[in-house]
């Protein structure tokens, strides 16, 4: 049910949904983790700040102790330097506190810092008072009091009091001075009381004796003593009670602060620990949420997407292999996979159709091919007869008129053969059945041969034909398909002669630097003929086309030559290029990249072949049912001086060979009773090693291949060309096989 529902949701939506879910989870995790991390960072900073704070707070205690020590030291010495140090120290303490207060990270201790600051603020005033009061005290005790006493003494000396009284008063004031000093030093009120009692007594006495001057001096002394006491008291209160109280309070507060900071540090530590745990928990939770989602996603995508896709892909694969028996799965789905499955179904249908069409087309092509092969065979066989007979007739005594007629027949026959070959070649090329040989070719021989072929014709037209091989070509033999290269050159030269009425034609072969181990050979056929206008140049490479419709009428030809040459050049990895203009002759060229071939040097100059005495000892068997063909061949062999026997079918050949050993067998392919292929195979099967030359009008490569498979190592097309036959016989009987 669920699966069905899932299958109805488009994959696009599913993927988008899953992605959105992942993005959501990822963002959720990201934000919560980054929030935790940033608060973690804050806590860490906080912790480090707290450590700094702890140090600062610890320093506070040291500062206040030092300050108290300085207050005491100043009290003892009154040293200006110590006082400066005291104010400096206090200032630095205050600055430290102000700095702490400025750090607004620690709200918890703000109140404590404020309390400490309030204490130091009060203390600051106390420090100012300290100096003031100490000076007052020192002045009053150290200067005021002694000078008041001096004044008192002086007044006493100059007094007109009776001597006894004077001495008694003097004694009293000395005692007063003693009590005063004692009280200031020891603060024992007994001394003060004694001073008071004594002073009252003396004042009374002096009043009685009317010595106002001395009395005033004494009063001043008493007053200055009282002032000294107050000054001393003020100073002592300041130091002993006020400043000491503040310092004690400061210590208490800073100790409390210390504890608080320690607690803060601990709390922060704990909070940090908690944050780390939280962080871990977020990861765990995210992990716990993500994991099943991933699994579920994988499971469902497997179920609903991957597996289905694989099934469809497998189905496609078997379709591609040609197996259309399988049913396309998932066609009931409505999502993309459903669409794909339906597309596969369409593909299946189309492919079935296509296969049928293709079969039909292949059948048609085959039919065409067969037709061409048959045509070729059917036309070649009579042509072989005609041409053979014409050649023989030309060797007989003829009158001039007869000879002229025979020449025309021969020429027409050759044209017909050429047309036939061209059509066959083109059909081969187009059907991709053209196979290129890789055999050693003699460049020199190739050039000589093609030049030789056209020399006579050129001469007859009054055109100079020459060939030239560049000296930089250091080799002679190379691998290639001689027939096809020759075919191109013949085509080009034939055209050149056809369209050149005066001047010259040159076959030029140029070399070039080695390229990937291959040597370039550029074949150029240059003529001084009528040339081809630029706008027609493309046209001449097309099938059945010449530069001008009138050309056909004027020069003849099928118009296939250049098309075939162009295709052949291309199939050999080259391009047939044309440089020409109207009235300026034409340059046709193509470049082959060839591999050098190491071949034993052969006698390249070929004499007219005649086996002579050797011929008598060489006995050939001709297996051919067609009388004309037999005649054509026997005439040739007669000329070459070879012996032969003739049988009409394969079976007869087998029988004959049983009776007698032959040096060579000519085997036709299509014969009644037993065809050539069967006969050859039987011969080989029974151990016959005699060289067999297959003779057939079926010149297609497929036919040659069949012949080879049947054990016929040589092949000659019909109509049999004299040169070809001679070459073959020379090769088999003289150079190679038969000793």
């Amino acid at each position: 049910m669920l699966k069905k529902k899932l299958n109805s949701i488009p994959i696009k939506k599913k993927v988008a949904g899953i992605l959105a879910l992942f993005v959501f989870l990822f963002l959720g995790t990201f934000f919560s983790v980054s929030a935790i991390l940033s608060s973690l960072e804050n806590k860490l900073i906080n912790l480090s700040d707290l450590h700094t704070l702890e140090t600062s707070v610890f320093e506070l205690n040291k500062d206040i102790s030092e300050i108290q020590r300085l207050v005491l030291a100043y009290g003892r010495t009154g040293s200006e330097a110590i006082y400066r140090k005291l104010t400096f120290r206090h200032k630095s303490l205050q600055d430290r506190l102000l700095n702490l207060k400025k750090q607004d990270d620690f709200k918890e201790i703000e109140a404590d810092i404020s309390s400490l600051l309030a204490v130091t603020k009060r203390y600051e005033e106390d420090i100012v008072s300290l100096k003031e009061l100490r000076e007052k005290k020192d002045t009053s005790i150290g200067i005021g009091l002694p000078s008041a006493f001096e004044e008192l003494e002086k007044t006493l000396t100059s007094t007109r009091l009776p001597e006894r009284l004077k001495i008694r008063t003097q004694e009293s004031i000395y005692r007063m001075r003693f009590y005063a000093k004692s009280f200031i030093a020891h603060k024992n009120f007994k001394s003060k009381r004694a001073f008071n009692v004594l002073s009252r007594e003396v004042l009374k006495t002096l009043k009685k004796n009317g010595d106002d001057q001395l009395r005033d001096a004494l009063k001043t002394y008493i007053e200055i003593f009282d002032q000294a006491i107050i000054a001393n008291r003020n100073y002592i209160t300041l130091v002993n009670v006020v400043m000491s109280g503040e310092a004690t309070e400061f210590s208490n507060l800073s100790q409390k602060l210390n504890q608080k900071v320690a607690l803060l540090t601990e709390n922060t530590n704990n909070a940090l620990q908690k944050k780390i745990t939280d962080n871990q928990n977020v990861f765990y939770i995210a992990f716990l949420i993500l994991l099943p989602i991933i699994f579920i996603t994988i499971y469902f995508s497997n179920q609903t997407v991957t597996n289905s896709l694989k099934d469809i892909a497998d189905t496609f694969e078997s379709f591609l292999k040609g197996d259309f028996s399988q049913e396309v799965p998932e066609r009931d789905r409505t999502d993309e996979i459903g669409k794909l499955a339906n597309a596969a179904e369409e593909f299946k249908k189309l492919n079935k159709q296509l296969k049928n069409e293709s079969k039909r087309a292949q059948g048609l092509a085959q039919t065409k091919s067969d037709f061409l092969a048959n045509m070729s065979h059917e036309i070649r066989t009579p042509m072989n007869g005609i041409m053979g007979m014409v050649e023989h007739m030309l060797d007989t005594d003829l009158n001039k008129e007869q000879k002229e007629m025979l020449d025309i027949i021969s020429s027409s026959g050759n044209s017909l053969t050429t047309i036939l070959n061209d059509i066959l070649d083109l059909s081969k090329i187009e059907s991709g059945k053209m196979i290129f040989e890789k055999e050693p070719i003699s460049l020199k021989k190739l050039v000589e041969e093609v030049e030789f072929l056209f020399q006579e014709k050129a001469k007859s037209k009054g055109v100079r034909l020459s060939s030239f091989i560049e000296k930089d070509i250091t080799f002679n033999f190379f691998y290639g398909d001689l027939t096809r290269i020759k075919q191109i050159l013949i085509n080009l030269l034939s055209n050149a002669i056809k369209f050149t009425n005066k001047g010259s034609i040159e076959l030029h072969i140029a070399g070039g630097p080695l390229k990937d181990g291959l040597s370039p050979l550029t074949f150029t056929v240059k003529d001084t003929g009528i040339g081809i206008p630029k706008d027609k140049q493309e046209l001449i490479f097309a099938k059945f086309s010449q530069s001008d419709a009138s050309t056909t009428r004027k020069f003849g030809g099928t118009g296939l030559g250049l098309a075939i040459s162009k295709k052949l050049a291309e199939l050999m990895g080259s391009q047939l290029l044309l440089e020409s203009d109207l009235g300026k002759g034409a340059n046709f060229s193509f470049t082959l990249l060839v591999q050098k071939a190491e071949v034993e040097k052969k006698a390249e100059d070929k004499k007219l072949l005649h086996f002579g005495k050797l011929g008598d000892s060489k006995n050939c068997l001709i297996v051919e049912d067609n009388e004309i063909n037999v005649k054509v061949l026997t005439k040739r062999l007669d000329k070459l001086g070879l012996c032969y026997e003739v049988v009409n079918n394969g079976q007869e050949a087998l029988d004959k060979e049983k009776e007698k050993n032959f040096d060579l067998i000519f085997m036709d392919l299509q014969m009644p009773v037993m065809d050539g292929l069967t006969a050859a195979k039987s011969l080989r099967d029974r151990g016959c090693e005699t060289p067999i030359i297959a003779m057939t009008a079926n010149v297609q490569e497929s036919d040659q291949k069949m012949c080879k498979e049947a054990g016929m190592e040589y092949f000659i097309g019909k109509p049999i060309k004299r040169e070809l036959l001679e070459d073959l016989l020379e090769y088999i009987l003289i150079e190679n096989k038969v000793s």
Partner: protein, 414 residues
């Protein structure tokens, strides 16, 4: 229309009518130096409003304010503290006599500051009872013979003892089990504080030592040097044992000590007790069987204050006795020297609780606006008369005050 309101109206509304003279005239400023006990913002605002003057308060710890006033009379116009300041200030010639004829309510002031007794026959505490230092004698000394010149204007007063947190220390019985000796009880080691003022703290400590049977005094109001030595050797030993958690210098600090659980028991002033209770700490202000340490608030005129400043100083002194301030400070447990003028400004519940020692008939708020007395509570120690009939000693500057200062220093740094 009050003068102040008139000024306001004219300044804001009728610009053309306002005379340049009024604008140009600089509002005079009165500088008052004292402690947090009486230097309270509400009072300052009210006084400024009522008197149309500027008032500057400079509150300090009691020792600090005394020291500053004694050494620098130019720094204040009026000095507010306790009667133990008088000896120091008068000797230091930092203050000038106040003319009773300029005190509007002089005659309304009850007999306590004038005779030392709240009622005839009440016990006269040791030390300087206010009457002994109130009147300026012909020879310039201070004495109890009535004259028209006084060293201070008597205004707020109270009896002090120690406060204790009944969450920590079982509540005792007033005048029977509650004893000064608790301050030295080993049970409360580390949870005890004294006030850092030798003229006050020394008596708390002396009463405690005497109450604990550690020593006796011939005259606790005027100790000998030997007695002082002995007392301080006891205290120093205690301190070294870690008995004292601190020595507070101001009332807010004493409240902090109590509310932050720094102490369970400490010398306290009445506002400190009210504030602590307002903050939820059940503090009982003890009524020690040995009697209270009493004090009388003094308002002194600086020797250096003259002319206009002196006039507004008298205005301020008269304002204080005009009723409102007395009613206000009653809510922190203080009495005023002329209670009858404040009575109409207090609710009858307040009057009955604070002055009469009757159970509160409703929740009562302190000066800070927080409930400091719950319905049904009875004031520690009872009525005004009962409490002032049980005075052990008055805050005093003893003869050996100078000597005690040195000892005090030793104690603080022990």
């Amino acid at each position: 229309m009050k003068r102040r309101d008139f000024l306001k109206g004219s300044a804001a509304g009728i610009a053309a009518f306002s005379t340049p003279a009024i604008i140009a005239q600089k509002t005079p400023t009165l500088r008052v130096m004292g402690t947090h006990v009486t230097l309270q913002e509400e009072l300052r605002k009210k006084a400024m409003k009522d008197l149309g003057i500027n008032i500057q308060f400079e509150p300090k710890g009691s020792a600090a304010v005394l020291q500053k006033a004694a050494s620098n009379p130019g720094a204040f116009d009026l000095y507010e503290q306790w009667s133990d300041s008088i000896g120091v200030l008068w000797q230091a010639k930092a203050i000038q006599p106040i003319d009773t004829k300029r005190l509007k309510y002089w005659d309304e002031i009850n007999q306590l500051p004038k005779t030392g007794r709240i009622v005839s026959g009440a016990k006269l505490g040791a030390g300087d009872s206010p009457n002994k230092i109130l009147f300026v004698q012909k020879d310039g000394t201070l004495g109890s013979n009535h004259t028209n010149n006084i060293s201070f204007m008597p205004y707020v007063h109270n009896v002090d003892s120690f406060g204790y947190n009944t969450n920590k220390i079982a509540k005792g019985e007033a005048y029977k089990t509650e004893s000064w000796s608790w301050l030295l009880d080993e049970k409360y080691r580390g949870k005890v504080a004294l006030v850092n003022a030798p003229t006050i703290g020394i008596f708390d400590a002396a009463l405690a030592a005497q109450g604990a049977g550690l020593m006796t005094f011939k005259d606790i109001g005027n100790m000998t040097m030997e007695e002082i030595d002995k007392l301080f050797s006891i205290l120093k030993a205690k301190k070294q044992e870690g008995h004292f958690s601190g020595f507070w210098t101001s009332v807010p600090q004493s409240v902090e000590f109590m509310t932050r659980d720094r102490v369970w028991i400490e010398s306290m002033f009445s506002p400190g007790v009210s504030a602590s209770k307002g903050k939820g700490i059940p503090v009982t202000y003890a009524s020690p069987k040995e009697g209270y340490r009493a004090w009388y608030g003094v308002m002194c005129l600086s020797k250096k204050t003259n002319g206009k400043a002196k006039d507004i100083a008298y205005e301020y002194m008269n304002w204080w006795l005009s009723g409102h301030a007395g009613a206000f400070i009653a809510r922190q447990g203080y009495y005023i020297s002329n209670p009858k003028r404040s009575k109409p400004l207090m609710s009858s519940e307040e009057w009955d609780y604070w002055y009469e020692g009757k159970p509160a008939r409703s929740d009562l708020k302190g000066t800070d606006g927080l409930v400091s007395v719950k319905k049904g509570e009875v004031r520690d120690g009872g009525s005004y008369i009962k409490r002032f009939s049980n005075i052990a000693v008055w805050n005093t500057v003893m003869d050996n005050y100078d000597y005690s200062l040195e000892k005090w220093y030793e104690l603080l740094n022990a």
